[in-house]
Symmetry: C2
Subunit: 374 residues, 2 copies
Amino acid sequence: MTHARFTLDAKSGGARRGSLHLDHGPVQTPAFMPVGTAATVKGLTPRDLVEAHTQIVLANTYHLWLRPGGELIAKAGGLHRFMHWDGPILTDSGGFQVFSLQERRTLDDDGVTFRSHLDGSTHRFTPENVIAFQEALGVDVAMVLDVCVKLPASRPEVAESVRLTTAWARRSLDAWSASSTAVFAIVQGGLDDELRERSARELVDMNFPGYAIGGLSVGESREEMERTARRTAALLPAEKPRYLMGVGTVRDLLTAIDCGIDMFDCVYPTRCGRNGRAMTRSGEFAIRNAAYTTDLEPVDATCDCYVCTTFTRAYLAHLFRSNEMLGPRLLSYHNVYLLNALMRDARAAIEAGAWAGFRDAVLTGLRGEPSDET
Amino acid sequence: MTHARFTLDAKSGGARRGSLHLDHGPVQTPAFMPVGTAATVKGLTPRDLVEAHTQIVLANTYHLWLRPGGELIAKAGGLHRFMHWDGPILTDSGGFQVFSLQERRTLDDDGVTFRSHLDGSTHRFTPENVIAFQEALGVDVAMVLDVCVKLPASRPEVAESVRLTTAWARRSLDAWSASSTAVFAIVQGGLDDELRERSARELVDMNFPGYAIGGLSVGESREEMERTARRTAALLPAEKPRYLMGVGTVRDLLTAIDCGIDMFDCVYPTRCGRNGRAMTRSGEFAIRNAAYTTDLEPVDATCDCYVCTTFTRAYLAHLFRSNEMLGPRLLSYHNVYLLNALMRDARAAIEAGAWAGFRDAVLTGLRGEPSDET
């Protein structure tokens, strides 16, 4: 398989520095993927994303399937042309969203039937039609349809999700037309070491172009996440890209890189941005707090983005207090820029063999805790 | 007075082509001023405004007085630095807003006391403190505090508003520190020819750097507006800039230019943009309409803005139907760009002595009616 060729260029401690070659260009890893669920990274244009040094964007099969639908996107020339993003795109398979619907879906061995959260209409995902949909979008990386369980879950439940996820991964490979779209598998298994190992082993045997770790960052403790991510990453082939789904705080990104993971996605920076939560190298803060209404410093004095080199905290605080849409836009832009810059600096540190020092310096500089906004 | 030096460079029919020289640079007229009520043109950055060929921005004394307040803006280095807009700024005096409060304000000869729409706190505007406030913001053009009446109104009511507006204009001139901020007067008088004439004559006698026509575009018919604007404009000195407040549809702008007016402001293009109403050279349309969900043409095929050269109607329709904030942002940008481009073309037509043909060609191309969104 030549899809999604990955080269491991350097290592430093557990951290990896790589290059992932996709149909729409290379991605330097570690890389953060801003989330453009509905074919838009909320509030930002493709130009903004490029300016913020975004390399690859994530979109969601579930949402695009329901609206505007694959037919329109194909007619528009594919997802890249539809949203006018020329860089790589990875689409999630919709597994996570469908299994979040709880009362609205019915699982069987062949697939999953669900009702739309938009209009209640009935739809069905199978491993095959989800791959076909993503290939029709023309994305660079498609994810297999996986079976997610809500934690806490009984061991038999988690084991069953692993069994089906493996079976569906095999069917996904068979369904894959080996187009320019690469297909990544998703390791499940909850917080259970043995099930994670089983899931990883079965998927690795199928020789996918890349592997994601799913089912984490869903409410478990940071320690649980780190332990499972680290153990699972170690089970994955060194020569393939590793993707931890749903991670996007500064602290979690550093931890995940330390676990040997290469790619990450999360709505965190844009959701925080919309809600007035500023991410900085020294921690997060709520821009609406009274202290910032007269603060003439930039959001993050160490950041060289358009927002930080142009506007004050007082101006952003004014925008948010006035419910002006420019506030969410500017803070989303800054937060995405910040994570992309963090990844850039992480890559440089790994190349320089200085990962541990970089990681500790950043972690030491962080004050307070991230919010529960993921 | 050397403030706001105005040169009349060409005439074609009733239309005027001029240059207004303000502290932060020249404004080529006819010019449309996008409205940045709360120190932000909703959804757009200063960079966007420059890219959309915006020459001058309007902000509102009433809103900025209440939030974030003059003290903070002065501390931030003035309104230009606070919102990071380097071009000219004109601020409305707050008269229109205060008199719209109806139950929340008390008028006396000295000024007007009102309660904030935000928190009910009590404030007082006088001709003097409104000029001082705008000078403290460091804006290029300050408007005098005027007395607006809601139409329909009795003749004595309108006459009284003219009397007070004249008296307050004189006090505004006295209060003006002759800083780099120019001060424009506002002609009132409703739809009454004699009162308009009285108001204009009294204000022209005071030799202001510029004159606005207030009290129009407030619900009267298009014919009434045109008749009053045309008659009032003819009463104003040819060598001073003329500003018609509250006008921002393609049709009204062309009419107003035809009346010999040079400057205009309106929330129309940005409010329409937020609400999914696209302005084009061939009329307006609601982007949410079913027809556009599969329309792969640009919003306006004759427009060379970023939005029209990048995205399809189908993509914008998708954004609006998905309640994605990128939709309002993109359509606001396009609508502002469109009006600025219309003014550019109007200026060229006047320079070429071809105003009437240009006006008629644009008016003939317009289909349907603008919305009631002003």
